[in-house]
């Protein structure tokens, strides 16, 4: 009997042990929401909207896009942008993959939001429509980036299943663009204009942003009349689409104190000390506390700036290439640090930057001097200036917003479209290029007045160059070159630095870039993606499958 009693006790304890547990066997995450409790509040829905904004663009994207152009040189390492420009990219290139993955990640956020937003309680229908319109804008923006890089891409307008994602074929770029145009037209009336926006909503997508996006999308298709139509809404219909105008100071436009000014149509938000970018840690002069220089303006960019006479350096007899930085477009000094240029430190003091070899009085001043293309100082003889944030904190952590659309761009698009339609005249010039040059700080009337004798082709060159000077280092130059089909003109052959080589007798010769007209207007579809989804083949021409 005793034995039986033991066995009974053992069994009881054993069963208790097996079933009982200190921790529950069905734990609930303490750090995450689940499907069961996420879509239950407007606050949570806003989290996804905010995430979509986060995935729309970034400061790094802007800098990387710019490095694809003839404005910038990444001298330290073989970055993916540099590999593309040197014509040696193959479909396994990391950037082809990461850009694609990033865009579809953002699209997922948009589609999941659009799928679930209707079940969220506690939100007015109007509020939901407005947030949906913002998210639809972001979705269109992501598709726009995708087609500009890859041409035809996998396209869908609701969330894809795992299985679909591995079978979906590519949709033609034209079809995707027509969806973008249609979406933007649909959401313009659903979005508030800049005038209606409360201060707290500064930075939200407005109807003006959607109009500007339409203009840019049509610009990239060279649909000139559409460009004119949408630019006109922003230039002449301010009551409906928001009042915009040029900010009086060109350099001030990119300063933290002037965020959300009247020129900004949409920017990508950063917040001091909590959401920041720090490109300048590897781009500013070393004497200003940069770690190294990995990103520097090219001589070709510097040369593109006009003289104060409104002439190109080739055409202005007063230009002296041994004293190249005097009497130049003021936007040069606002965008680029050249030898003898000024730098305002975080503490507000201003100092001269010495770059020419053999200059600089102290060890500190000599930190910035050009050594060669494989040193810590600049590889080109120039440093970056535009978007330098004087309010940044340690390691150049900057909360400065990155402008995606601004009014000057609208004026430039308008001017370009008018000229392409052969409709440019003195009045239009004065309202566009003239106004921009005046704001830039040109005082010589010769530089501001309408070149009435110029042919359409000459005007085209002038407008294109103006676009480069005004929008340099803002991530747009590459797309302009691509849409102009001007790859061979701008992205082929040697790029250069300042005239510091051979004891100051020659320009620094850097990479010999290669542009393949039959290949390089598009990127390759990522190889890993083609390997998973055979329907992505054939690849874009010239890359191989």
């Amino acid at each position: 009997m005793k034995k039986l009693r033991y066995i009974k006790q053992i069994c009881i304890v054993a069963i208790l042990l097996a079933l009982g547990s200190c921790n529950t066997m069905d734990p609930i995450p303490t750090n995450d929401f689940t499907d069961a409790n996420f879509w239950t509040s407007p606050e949570n829905a806003e989290l996804i909207v905010n995430m979509a904004y986060n995935q729309m663009y970034s400061a790094d994207k802007m800098w990387n896009d710019e490095a694809l152009s003839d404005n910038v040189f990444e001298g330290r390492t073989n970055t993916d942008q540099r590999i593309i420009r040197n014509g040696i990219a193959d479909p396994s290139l990391g950037l082809f993959d990461t850009e694609w993955e990033w865009a579809y990640g953002g699209l997922k956020t948009c589609h999941v939001f659009l799928q679930f937003i209707d079940i969220v309680p506690g939100m007015t229908a109007e509020h939901k429509e407005r947030r949906k319109a913002e998210v639809r804008f972001i979705r269109a923006h992501l598709y726009f980036r995708l087609v500009n890089f890859y041409g035809d891409v996998p396209f869908f307008t609701s969330d894809v299943s795992l299985d679909e994602s591995q079978r979906v074929p590519r949709t033609s770029k034209a079809q995707v663009l027509s969806f973008i145009h249609q979406e933007l037209d649909e959401i313009i009336p659903l979005l508030p204009s800049r005038n209606q926006l409360s201060a707290a909503d500064n930075g939200r997508i407005t109807s003006g942003a959607a109009v500007a996006f339409q203009a840019r999308a049509y610009l990239y298709e060279s649909s000139w009349s559409k460009v004119i139509e949408y630019c006109d809404k922003l230039i002449n219909q301010g009551e409906t689409f928001g009042n915009y105008s040029l900010f009086p100071s060109y350099s001030g436009l990119f300063e933290a104190t002037n965020e959300y000014n009247q020129e900004v149509i949409l920017d990508y938000a950063h917040v001091p000390s909590v959401k920041y970018w720090s490109k300048y840690y590897d781009a500013a002069p070393l004497s200003a506390g940069a770690r190294l220089n990995a990103y520097a303006p090219l001589q070709e960019l510097v040369d593109s700036y006009l003289t104060t006479n409104g002439l190109t350096v080739q055409n202005d007899p007063t230009y002296n290439d041994n004293n190249p930085y005097t009497n130049r477009d003021p936007r040069l000094a606002a965008s680029v640090v050249f030898h003898g240029g000024q730098w305002t430190s975080f503490d507000g003091t201003t100092k001269t930057i010495y770059i020419r070899p053999g200059t600089g009085g102290t060890a500190e001043e000599r930190m910035d001097v050009y050594i060669n293309s494989s040193s810590n100082s600049t590889a080109t003889g120039y440093y970056m200036r535009k978007y330098y944030d004087q309010t940044a904190i340690t390691n150049y952590q900057s909360g400065l917003n990155i402008i995606m659309y601004r009014y000057a761009d609208v004026l430039l698009m308008y001017a370009e479209a008018l000229n392409e339609q052969n409709d440019m005249d003195e009045n239009a010039w004065n309202n566009t290029i003239g106004a921009i040059r005046a704001r830039a700080g040109f005082t010589n009337p010769a530089a501001r007045s309408y070149p009435s004798t110029a042919t359409q082709a000459q005007l085209r060159e002038i407008i294109r160059n103006e676009r480069r000077s005004e929008l340099a280092l803002e991530g747009l130059r590459y797309y302009d070159i691509i849409r102009w089909k001007a790859g061979t003109q701008y992205l082929n052959g040697f790029v250069h630095g300042a005239k510091f080589a051979n004891s100051g007798t020659a320009y620094i010769q850097l990479d010999n870039r290669r542009f393949d007209e039959n290949r390089d207007y598009l990127w390759s579809v990522p190889r890993a993606e083609m390997d998973i989804n055979n329907n992505l083949r054939p690849n874009n021409p010239g890359y191989g499958n």
Partner: protein, 1039 residues
């Protein structure tokens, strides 16, 4: 559910002590009955050479009375004439003496013929002997672990057992990264073995908190037959650690031991001299038509100042002192045993500044037989780790990549820390000396309480409660230091640690463990039956919080008005993890005549990592063994040659080591995702879950043989295994178009095969006793199923591959085909996409055009090799001669590929390195066409992109090596001398570690690897902590 947490231990104790009172009463009655006419018998026990045997058991047959011999072999026991005493000691034949009136006995024990076979081996939930074991188990005792100048148990086990692969990836005391793999790579998931300490499943972190001096033995369970009892977590093998205990009837023994030594950092690579470096830098530039950097005058100047050169890497290193002290008091009475120990370890870091680790250990292991039926045991272990690390995370890179130019100094004579155009805004010396510190203090408390109740003869009930508690705290303080552009500069150019962070991290984890076991072991004539039935529950909880401040007060580090709380700070719910595992398990064994063995076991596990309907997994195994040599027809073989045992097992083992909540779709909030009007807002990301996930299963087959030769002097074991793992839980390789991640799915399959041999041989030459041991093992795995068949993972020019048909995480990339020797060769060759013939020059790398399509692209890549060590071996040799003893351990791997990138391979790597190393001097030139390396080219050039910008075998090296891990010489002072000063035993020794390493690449430590136990990790840039050589001495005293 929560309540059972308290109820169960209560039940165990109530139940236990209920029986207890009954048992105590009965004992006292019986003691009296035999207490008549007793005499005290004394004696001494010696071996045939006349050496006293201490710790031998002396027991009166048929009674509970027993004792053991002291350090001089003496014993004393009360008994009556006519009774029989049994004297036994491990490794010797049992001796029976019938007592007469002669009360002074001299006993000589004969060495047992079956020493090895009767060795007790710890297995899951029990013990067995070498004779009876039918699975693949390796076992080492404390003698292997003690006296090695290692700082933790993992290091101590390196090289001791076949297929127990331990790689010490970093020798940094503050970041002692080590991989442990048993039998190679069996899953794409975590490959770390299960750690069991004194019968309780433990967190892996506890292993290195133990004092190696406290370890009695370690067993490794390698096959299904032995490991399946641990069910769902046993697929990677099980490491069982048993701590020392006192012995019954042993008078108190006090043992003191100490080791002290110096660890000398050995940098395996050296830069060339400054003038040479400048010349080579110029050559790399002019080779790609760029302008030289140094003028001839500058080079001349460097040449003239050669004597003043110093290399920053040398400056930041110093010798480190390592000290270890242990004190152990052990003993036992008739019913109780005890062992108390304390240990202190202090290992200095080799970085300039005052860093290193300190560990304090305290242990109390007590057992007590309350009566004939009840035994209680208690293990209490406390460890304190103080880890003092520097804030300079890049000190090695930032110092080793700077050329030794005489004008590059980290610190001026006036004390100012300097920067220059190579260091820019970094200064490793400043960071190490004055940049603040990361101080961690970690408490580990381990409780292991057991209660054994003998129910009937052969049937025992055992209840165990165990708790592993970790309390970790880390305080980080980063001090701002000004750096100057020159010694006479008055204002600093930059600062390091400009943010002046102060951070506090607190973590608590506890693992609670309950077990109830029924154990049966009974022999009827020639039949032996063993049985085990058990239930257990484990609960794991982790909570952590961290506050991170920046811009704190420069002196106090406390918050001031400008201080910001960094958004990476977090509160407990953000870092809470809870898991539970409930199990039932059983083992049934039968053997006939110690000749035929059959054993079966199963475990039934339920895990909180899976949804209810997929939660439970069943893991059975069966084992068979046959002592062939005990058959009649083998009699003559047995007598002439030795024993033969053949054994085989098959079973299912599980693995569930994935993150929590993988079956749920989760939405994770992120702070500061975006901002409106300069006010930050949060966002949320999501990861999709899959409700169907469940256990991954390894189907494991093992066959082995144990053989002895030369009258058991030589014994050998051989094992072959074949494992197939199905339903491997891993994250699928998805199309990026899907847009987000999926949690782990049961999607992979792989096979893993291998074999191992271990041989031990003991022999004598004259007065010298020799013992030679060797082990070697090899494993080979292959992926057999994976989503979309492959995944190519590239990180910094090193590509790893998951592909059906090749080993998991193989190296993948281009094959080089030497260097171009002429322009004609370049023009005729297939070149990488976009590269024109005139971009390259003779001396640049040529690649194999695998698919012969005239262009080198991703399709031309090969499976290049595997980074997992194969043919790993260990070799030990010990010899004792009179009072002297000598021992050595060599360990290594005979086959391993190792990919290394960065400045140690590529000169002037990506402009991040400014220096060329001596081992890079054999580069291609028109007069040195048969060179090791391609011609020198500057970073950024197309040639450099061609030569070094690709994931090719230029980065692949032979990782095979053999290392004299440990060597020591000791001397035991003869008892006759030591006893005069009251010391029973005294040994002094000198030892050394890592004295000699044979490898094909002198410039890199062959143990360094990018792979962790999961075969993941970013590319190996060879920026390891230097290899440490240890020279020391020690003292071991027993009172």
């Amino acid at each position: 559910m929560k309540k059972t947490c308290i109820i169960i231990p209560l039940l165990i104790y109530l139940f236990g002590f209920g029986v207890n009172s009954y048992g105590t009463a009965s004992k006292s009655i019986r003691e009296k009955a035999v207490g008549l006419n007793q005499t005290t018998y004394t004696g001494v026990v010696k071996d045939k050479l006349g050496v006293a045997i201490s710790g031998a058991s002396v027991a009166v047959k048929g009674r509970a009375a027993s004792t053991s011999t002291d350090n001089n072999g003496h014993f004393s026991i009360s008994a009556s004439a006519g009774e029989v005493i049994e004297i036994s000691f491990l490794g010797y034949e049992q001796m029976m003496v019938t007592l007469t009136q002669q009360t002074n006995l001299n006993v000589v024990l004969q060495e047992s013929a079956n020493t090895e076979l009767d060795e007790v081996i710890v297995i899951g939930y029990g013990t067995t002997t070498r004779r009876r074991v039918v699975g693949a188990v390796d076992h080492v005792n404390s003698d292997i672990i003690e006296n090695r100048p290692v700082t933790n148990l993992t290091q101590a086990l390196q090289g001791t057992m076949p297929s127990l692969n331990i790689q010490q990836r970093s020798m940094n005391p503050n970041d002692n990264t080590m991989n442990i793999n048993i039998r190679g790579i069996g899953t794409m998931n975590n490959n770390s073995p299960l750690i069991v300490i004194d019968g309780l499943v433990s967190d892996g972190a506890s292993l290195n908190r133990l004092n190696p001096n406290d370890i009695e033995s370690a067993s490794v369970l390698k096959d299904a037959g032995t490991a399946a009892i641990y069910g769902s977590r046993s697929a990677n093998g099980v490491l069982l650690v048993t701590t020392k205990k006192g012995k019954k009837n042993q008078k108190p023994t006090l043992r003191l031991s100490t080791q002290t030594g110096i660890q000398t950092p050995k940098i395996l690579f050296r830069p060339v001299e400054g003038y040479q470096n400048a010349t080579l830098k110029n050559l790399s530039l002019t080779n790609v038509n760029a302008h030289p950097q140094f003028t001839p005058e500058q080079i001349r100047d460097l040449y003239d100042h050669r004597a003043e050169e110093e290399w920053s890497y040398d400056v930041i290193l110093q010798d480190g002192l390592q000290q270890n002290y242990n004190v152990t008091l052990s003993g036992g009475s008739e019913n109780t045993t005890y062992l108390f120990s304390g240990g202190f370890l202090d290992q200095e870091s080799n970085f300039a500044g005052d860093f290193g680790i300190q560990r304090y250990n305290l242990r109390a292991n007590v057992t007590s037989d309350i009566n004939d039926r009840i035994k209680i045991s208690s293990i209490l272990n406390y460890a304190r780790n103080n880890n003092k690390a520097s804030t300079a995370s890049n000190a090695i890179i930032n110092s080793s990549r700077i050329p030794p130019y005489y004008y590059y100094r980290m610190q001026a004579d006036n004390g100012k820390y300097l920067v220059n155009n190579a260091l820019t805004d970094q200064n490793p010396l400043a960071e190490l000396r004055d940049g603040g510190r990361i101080d961690s203090d970690n408490d580990y408390f381990n409780v292991n309480l057991g209660l054994d109740v003998k129910i009937i003869d052969g049937l025992k009930l055992r209840g165990v409660f165990g708790a592993d508690m970790f309390s970790n705290h880390r305080y980080t303080r980063r001090l701002q230091i000004p750096l100057y552009s020159s010694p006479d500069a008055t204002t600093p150019l930059v600062f390091v640690n400009t943010e002046r962070n102060t951070e506090d991290y607190n973590e608590k984890t506890y693992l609670l463990n309950y077990q109830l076991l029924l154990d049966y072991d009974k022999t009827f004539d020639k039949h032996q039956i063993t049985g085990l039935f058990g239930a257990s529950n484990e609960s794991y909880t982790r909570r952590a919080n961290e506050i991170r401040l920046r811009f704190t007060d420069p002196i106090l580090g406390v918050p001031v008005s400008e201080t910001e709380i960094l958004p990476s700070s977090y509160v407990s719910p953000q870092q809470t993890q809870q898991t539970g595992l409930s199990s039932l398990f059983a083992r049934l064994g039968y053997s006939f005549d110690q000749k035929y063995f059959i054993e079966g076991s199963f475990r039934y596990d339920g895990s909180s990592k899976f949804l209810k309907q997929n939660r439970w997994g069943f893991f059975p195994s069966v084992s068979l063994g046959w002592r062939l040599s005990d058959e009649l027809f083998m009699d003559s073989y047995r007598e002439k040659i030795g024993d033969v045992k053949i054994r085989g097992t098959y079973g299912h083992l599980g693995n569930q080591d994935i993150e929590n909540y993988q079956y749920l779709t989760v939405y994770t909030p992120y702070t500061n995702a975006y901002g409106f009007n300069n006010t930050s807002v949060a966002g949320a990301g999501f990861r999709y879950g899959n409700e169907t996930i469940s256990w991954e299963t390894t189907k494991s087959f093992n066959i082995g043989a144990d053989l002895t030769f030369f009258s058991q002097r030589l014994n050998a074991s051989f094992d072959y295994f074949n494992n197939k793992t199905v339903d491997i839980l891993t994250e699928p390789n998805l199309s990026a178009v899907f847009g987000t991640k999926l949690g782990s799915l049961n999607i992979g399959e792989m096979v893993n095969r291998g074999w191992e041999i271990s041989v031990n041989y003991g022999f004598e030459t004259g007065n010298a006793n020799h013992r030679v041991g060797g082990n070697v093992g090899d494993t080979f795995n292959k992926v057999t199923k994976y989503t979309n068949d492959e995944d190519i993972l590239t990180s910094d020019n090193i590509t790893k591959l998951i592909r059906v048909g090749v080993p998991f995480m193989s190296y993948y990339g281009y094959k080089t085909e030497g260097y171009f020797q002429s322009m004609q060769e370049i023009e005729a060759a297939a070149l990488p996409v976009g590269v024109a013939a005139d971009d390259l020059k003779p001396g640049d790398v040529r690649y194999v055009d695998r698919n012969q399509d005239g262009v080198i692209d991703g399709r031309d890549r090969f499976v290049l090799g595997s980074g997992f060590p194969r043919f790993t071996f260990g070799f030990t040799y010990d010899v004792s001669y009179k009072g002297f003893d000598f021992g050595m351990l060599v360990q290594g791997s005979a086959k391993r590929d190792m990919m290394v990138r960065g400045e140690l391979v590529e000169p002037f790597h990506s402009n991040y390195s400014f220096v060329m190393y001596q081992h890079q001097l054999d580069y291609w030139t028109p007069t040195n066409t048969n060179a090791t390396w391609p011609r020198l080219t500057a970073a950024g050039a197309t040639s450099t992109a061609n030569n070094y910008g690709r994931d090719s075998d230029i980065y692949m090296f032979d990782g095979a090596y053999a290392r004299l891990k440990n060597i020591q010489l000791g001397y035991t002072i003869p008892n006759t001398y030591s006893e005069k000063i009251g010391i029973a035993n005294m040994r002094i020794f000198v030892n050394a570690q890592n004295l000699l390493t044979l490898s094909k690449n002198s410039w890199i430590d062959p143990e360094s690897s990018e792979f962790n136990s999961n075969m993941s990790g970013s590319a190996n840039s060879a920026r390891n902590y230097p290899t440490l050589k240890y020279y020391g001495f020690g003292l071991d005293i027993q009172f």
